[in-house]
Amino acid sequence: MGSRYVLEMTDISKEYYGNRVLKNVNLQVEPGEIHALVGENGAGKSTLMNILFGMPVIHETGGFEGEIKIDGQPAMIDNPYKAMDYGIGMVHQEFMLIPGFTVTENIKVGREITNPTFLSKVFGKDLETLDIEKMRRDARVALDTIGLNIEEYVQVAGLPIGYMQFVEIAREIDKTGIKLLVFDEPTAVLTESEADRLLEIVQLIASKGIGIVFITHRLDEVMAISDRLTILRDGEVVATLNAKDTTVERVAELMIGRKVEKLIEGMGDHRVLSDADIALSLRDFYVDMPGERVKGVNLDIRNGEIFGIGGLAGQGKLGIPNGIMGIYDSEGTVELFGKELDLTKLGEALRNGIAFVSEDRRGVGLLLDESIEFNVVFSAMQIKGDFLIRLGPITIYDQRKAREHTLEMIKTLDIRCTGPKQLVGSLSGGNQQKVCLARALTLNPALLIVSEPTRGIDIGAKRLVLEHLIKLNREEGLTIVVVSSELVELRSMCDRIAIISGGNVAAILEPDAPDAEFGLAMAGLRKEGASIA
């Protein structure tokens, strides 16, 4: 063996289309160690694990640099089967189980124990019969190891979510020669008691000498069970620490810490913000958006401010604007300038002067097969009846007026295109975003909500979009709500930032608040005085 590490990843770098997502990352895991891997969304955790498992996405995009050693021996992992041969297993965030199969079948799938038969002797190994008895015994052993008291012959389909996760773990430890097990956000979908149970099982598995890589953003879990932790930020390892030598605050700070470039400096600020002048007020606001549920948010957004909503993916920050706009069903009170909106009516928010730039540009934000012109004027035409012309008893689309307006928008927002007739599907991400923004502005809104304004667009366009938003705020007094997973972006332009965690407001922070406070809020740990939902 000759190595104290079961896994060594040295100087790992990876580029996606010229975009460096991992820079000289090192990771060592000892046998029996629980090694936590923490970082924000996009810090490079998944990419690192994809490399470890030889996922096709890595090799289709030009491979990676660096070296992987298993038990001290250099390993060439270029497909997931190789990773399995090396004794690396993974418990996925989304369950990779077949619902109609029994627990045993799911544990043994792909590695069935078989008996030869007459047919198999003639036609080959694929026709051997399953040795159900042996498979059941194996499955039982695996289930007992993790202390799961379910019958091995029940179907997976009806099991509670938590149990599915445990079946998945049982499958991994049933693999012979497993040396390293990766848990990818295993507690994300579990209830609190299930999560506790899972953490116990993880410790149990580690005590058998299996190395564990534990990926999560729940810092309290990390501190509770891990031996060491590696913190990734922007594709780089910022620190590898012993868990007992550090604190949650320190980890949170390292996870977030980044220089914030203030975009608002140098712009005159003549705004008067007052807690008495509220533009948008949410009370006990629930939104049923799959994967982004909002559970009883209270927020007051002041007239004239730029308000940021941040938080990790899946915590509910995207649910807030989508609920207000009526794209997903919501409950609770929403007041705009003191007037209560009836969100059960479709388009209510739009009619009352809230414009929205969706985070899902291609899915919700645009008609990809239509022209820039049509995309820009569409909402204003539908909501306010602009760009229509009366011809006797009928009203039809006023193309000339739409053309004039679009040309103006192309100029102000600097949309790079061949003309207003170009189809938006053929524009670059940044220019598509500008078209979305142009449509929102065409509505002449009293309040603008922009969701993930810079997702998937290049740096130059990013800056331009953000600066234009600030300009609108400062010069025209437009109240803007920015929802973004890029904390740096929010801190560069917002007056206040609400961090959403677990579908609720974890904290409302000033942009200059310490990194640790942001990190803790994102991890769902709140300062005393606030309760955890």
Partner: protein
Amino acid sequence: MREKLSEIYENLGLPRIIIIGFFIVLLIAAVPLGLSVPNLLGDAIRRWAMYGVLVLAMVPAVECGINLNFGISLGIVAGLLGSTTAIEMGIPNPWTSLFAAMAIGVLVAIPLGIGYGILLNRVKGSEMTVSTYVGFSVVAFMNLVWLSLPFKSGTLIWPLGGRGMRNTISLASSFGGVLNNFLGVQIGDPTQGLYVPTGLILFFMAACVVVWLFLRSKTGLAMSAAGSNPMFARASGINVDMMRILGTTISTALGAIGIITYSQSYGFLQLYNAPLMMGFHCVAAVLIGGATVRSAKISHAIIGTFLFQGILAVALPVANKLLPGTNLADVMRIIISNGIILYALSKTKEGS
């Protein structure tokens, strides 16, 4: 020059160029076979205008998001019901009779279309499969109705037995040919020359203009948006389900008007199983014109109908001359219509 040609190629697409080429080849082949080209062209024009409105019915259906309306038979039976009722009423003036048939047909089509639209909203993702079977089922159901309607008019019911309607009902005493003959122009010899059914063409064009105006209206544009991206439409405050019902209803109503224009030109009403496959011909025609399951324009309906019906009108006599006594033309019609449907469906990206 080269650029222009490639632009034309881009706009038309390979399938249309092949079909246009085939059409021209057929016309050229007609000359040495001793067929009158003006006569064939006249036939093509007449069939184009007579099928036009039926094919036009596909446009609002595709635009509102229910894909190709294979269930246009629903509109067709509504139109047939309107026509038979108008005949039963015994209106002597052909124009009054025609418009009465259309009015009743549309009145029947509207509730049917609304119900059909509600049904299609429940089966999002498999509209085309469901609409095909809606079309088949309604034809079967109407077979019972045709047999049991208490109509008394001698032109409608079987001469023996006094109950149940005939397979084929002559329109000579009601509105047969009334649009075709309105301002009709005969160019050249009556047997060999070209007859232009001006009234029929005008009616078809008027229908196109009405649909075009609707599609350019606020509601029409909202409907198209709902069809091409439901989430986008919802985010703009549009009730997507309502728009789909609207599009389906308009399509069904156009189907009713379409079969009446078709029948008046043909001179007969065809009941029972006659409407069974008509949906497929309409679908094939609009697809030949360049429509997809996601987008259809009025120009697609106009061009597609001309090519599809033109080929049939010319191919039939040519094939009969080449191979007398066979039904090669009909075989070709089936190959072309089903082949083009297959081609277009294979071009669609996803199942929905």
